[in-house]
C-alpha cells in the first residue's frame, strides 16, 4: 500500500488527531470561513443573462447541425447513411430517394435524402456525423438549439437543417475547418467532394 502515491496534489491525509483548544472552539475557523464568503460577496459575478446576453462562442463550437449546400445551391447530402451509422446516440434517421429529372439544381448527386431528421434531445453534439460524412454535407455550427416545452419540435427535419438557398444567408462553417483539415482535404483522392 505504501507505494501508492496520491493521484493529485490536492488530496489530504485524513487526520484523527485530537483537536487543539483553538480548533475546538470553532470560532476562528468559522470567522475564516465567513471572511472567505464575504470576499465572494463583493466579487464581480460571472453570470451571463442568457437570452439578452450571449457568451461569445468559438468558431469550433459544436452546436446544432446544418446540412450544407454546394456553391450552386445544391444539397450535398446523398443519403449514404454514414452519419447515422456513426452516430453514437442514434439520433439521425433518413429516407433516401432518387433524383428526378429536372431536380439537378436541387441535389448534387442522383440520390438524395427525402427525409432527414435529427432528434436534438438524443444528440450529444459529438461531431462524429461531421467526421463520417464523405460529402462534407453535415456540419455542426455555433448556433444553439432553441428551448421548447414539447418534445416533438426537437426532432429537426430538413426544413430546419438545410441551409437557405439564398447565398447571403448561407451558414459559414469555415471556422470548423482548421488548417489541418483543409490540407487533408487537398488530397487528390477526395477531389470528388469539391
Amino acid at each position: 500500500m505504501s507505494d501508492l502515491r496520491p493521484l493529485t496534489t490536492r488530496s489530504r491525509v485524513v487526520s484523527d488527531k485530537r483537536m487543539t483548544l483553538m480548533e475546538r472552539i470553532y470560532l476562528p475557523a468559522m470567522v475564516a470561513g465567513l471572511l472567505i464568503t464575504i470576499r465572494h460577496f463583493f466579487r464581480r459575478k460571472p453570470t451571463v443573462r442568457y437570452p439578452e446576453q450571449e457568451r461569445p462562442r468559438p468558431a469550433v463550437y459544436r452546436g446544432r447541425h446544418v446540412l450544407k449546400r454546394d456553391e450552386k445551391g445544391r444539397e450535398r447530402c446523398t443519403a449514404c447513411g454514414l452519419c447515422a451509422v456513426a452516430c453514437p446516440a442514434e439520433a439521425i434517421s433518413m429516407v433516401a430517394d432518387e433524383r428526378k429529372p429536372g431536380e439537378e439544381h436541387l441535389y448534387r448527386e442522383e440520390k438524395y435524402a427525402r427525409i432527414y431528421e435529427i432528434d436534438m434531445l438524443r444528440c450529444i453534439y459529438c461531431g462524429l456525423c461531421e467526421e463520417a460524412c464523405p460529402k462534407e454535407a453535415i456540419f455542426l455550427t455555433d448556433r444553439l438549439v432553441k428551448a421548447d416545452r414539447e418534445r416533438m419540435p426537437f426532432v429537426f427535419g430538413k426544413d430546419e437543417l438545410v441551409e437557405p438557398m439564398d447565398p447571403a444567408r448561407r451558414i459559414d462553417v469555415s471556422g470548423r475547418q482548421t488548417a489541418a483539415v483543409r490540407t487533408f482535404k487537398q488530397n487528390p483522392r477526395y477531389a470528388h467532394n469539391r
Binding site: 468559522m30 465567513l34 464575504i38 459575478k45
Partner: protein, 341 residues
C-alpha cells in the same frame, strides 16, 4: 388599548410580514452573491417582486393533507408557528418617543416589566408548532425532524437563558425598554458582555433552526424535516415563521447587545426630538437588517453540524460557558461596586 397602540400594532404586523417576505428574497440574493451568482432577477427590476411571485405560487398550490395525518393538528401546527412568531414583536422597542398631534407615543407595543422573559416564553411555545405539525404528518422524517427541533430548542434555551442572566444582572431590569435606556446611559452591552453575546448569538441560530443548526429540516437526511408533508400555504406559514423568527431574533440581538434604537452621540446634535426618534428607529432597523444578513451569511458559509455535535456544543459547551459568564459578571460587578465604595 388606545387607538394609537392599535394602529402601531397594525403597522408592526404589516412591517413584520413585509420584512419576513423580503427576507426570503434577501436570502436568495445573499446566497447567490456569496456564491458568485446574481440570484433572482426576473420578477420586476432586480427581481424585487420575487416574494409576491413566491406567495402567489404558494397560494395556488394544492392544499394537500395526507390521508393518515391527524387533520386537526396538521392544521394547527403551522398556525401555532406563525402566531408565536408574530407575537414577540410587541415587546421590542422599535424606537423612542414620537410626538404627533400633541400626543406622545412610544414606538413599542407594550413594555412589560418582564419583557425579555415574555420573548422567551413565546419562543418556547413556538416549538409546539413544529412538533405538532411534524408529528401529525404521520411521516417518519417529519417526526424525526420535529423531535430534533424540540430537543434542540429546549437545550439551547438553557444556554440562551444563562447568557441573558448575566446581561440582566448588569442592566438591572428585564424590561426591553429599560435595557435599551440602560445602554444609552452606560454604553452598549456588547462591550461588557462579549462572551454572553457569542453564546446568545449561537443559541439564537439554534432556536431559529438556522444553519449550521438546521437539523430539524436537514434536507440531506430528512427530506424536509417537519414540513416534509406540508404543501401550499401551510408550508408557506412554516417558512414564513422561520423568517419572522429570524427577523425578531435579529431585533432582539440588536436590542439586547447593540443599544436598540440608540445611536451614540445623536442626542448631542440637538435635533428635533421626532427626527431623533426616527433616526433611532432607522438605526434599529439597520442593526436588525445587519443581523438578518449575518444569519444568511453564516448559513451560506458553514456546513451543518451533526446532531450529537449540536447537543455536545449546547450542553457541554454553551451551558458551562454561560454559567462561567454569569459568575465572572457577578464577580466583576461586585468588585467594581466595592471599588466605587
Amino acid at each position: 388599548m388606545t387607538l394609537a397602540t392599535a394602529l402601531f400594532l397594525l403597522v408592526l404586523f404589516v412591517v413584520t410580514l413585509t420584512v419576513a417576505a423580503y427576507s426570503t428574497y434577501a436570502e436568495r440574493k445573499v446566497a447567490a452573491f456569496l456564491q458568485d451568482r446574481i440570484g433572482p432577477d426576473r420578477a420586476g427590476p432586480f427581481g424585487i417582486l420575487q416574494p409576491l411571485a413566491d406567495g402567489t405560487k404558494m397560494f395556488m398550490k394544492e392544499d394537500f393533507i395526507p390521508a393518515a395525518a391527524n387533520r386537526r393538528l396538521f392544521t394547527l401546527g403551522p398556525a401555532i408557528a406563525m402566531i408565536t412568531a408574530l407575537m414577540t414583536g410587541v415587546v421590542i422597542p422599535w424606537g423612542g418617543e414620537l410626538t404627533l398631534f400633541g400626543e406622545t407615543f412610544r414606538l413599542q407595543g407594550t413594555d412589560p416589566e418582564i419583557g425579555i422573559l415574555f420573548v422567551f416564553a413565546i419562543v418556547s411555545i413556538g416549538v409546539y408548532g413544529i412538533m405538532l405539525g411534524g408529528w401529525a404528518s404521520n411521516n417518519k422524517y417529519a417526526l424525526l425532524g420535529s423531535v430534533r427541533a424540540a430537543s434542540q430548542m429546549v437545550s439551547y434555551e438553557l444556554g440562551m437563558g444563562l447568557s441573558i442572566v448575566a446581561l440582566v444582572m448588569l442592566n438591572g431590569t428585564l424590561s426591553l425598554g429599560g435595557i435599551v435606556e440602560h445602554q444609552a446611559a452606560h454604553g452598549w452591552n456588547i462591550i461588557y458582555q462579549p462572551l454572553g453575546f457569542i453564546i446568545f448569538l449561537v443559541c439564537a441560530f439554534a432556536e431559529t433552526n438556522r444553519s449550521p443548526f438546521d437539523m430539524p429540516e436537514c434536507e440531506t437526511e430528512l427530506v424536509g424535516g417537519y414540513h416534509t408533508e406540508f404543501s401550499s400555504m401551510k408550508l408557506g406559514f412554516f417558512l414564513f415563521a422561520e423568517y419572522t423568527n429570524m427577523f425578531i431574533s435579529s431585533a432582539v440581538i440588536s436590542t439586547l447587545y447593540f443599544g436598540g434604537y440608540h445611536v451614540p452621540g445623536l442626542d448631542r446634535l440637538g435635533l428635533d426630538p421626532n427626527l431623533t426618534t426616527l433616526i433611532g428607529t432607522a438605526a434599529m432597523f439597520a442593526k436588525t437588517f445587519f443581523f438578518i444578513f449575518f444569519f444568511m451569511w453564516v448559513r451560506w458559509s458553514t456546513p451543518r453540524f451533526r446532531f450529537d455535535q449540536l447537543m455536545n456544543l449546547g450542553w457541554k459547551g454553551l451551558i458551562p460557558l454561560g454559567i462561567a459568564n454569569v459568575l465572572i459578571t457577578g464577580t466583576v460587578y461586585h468588585l467594581a461596586e466595592l471599588w466605587k465604595g
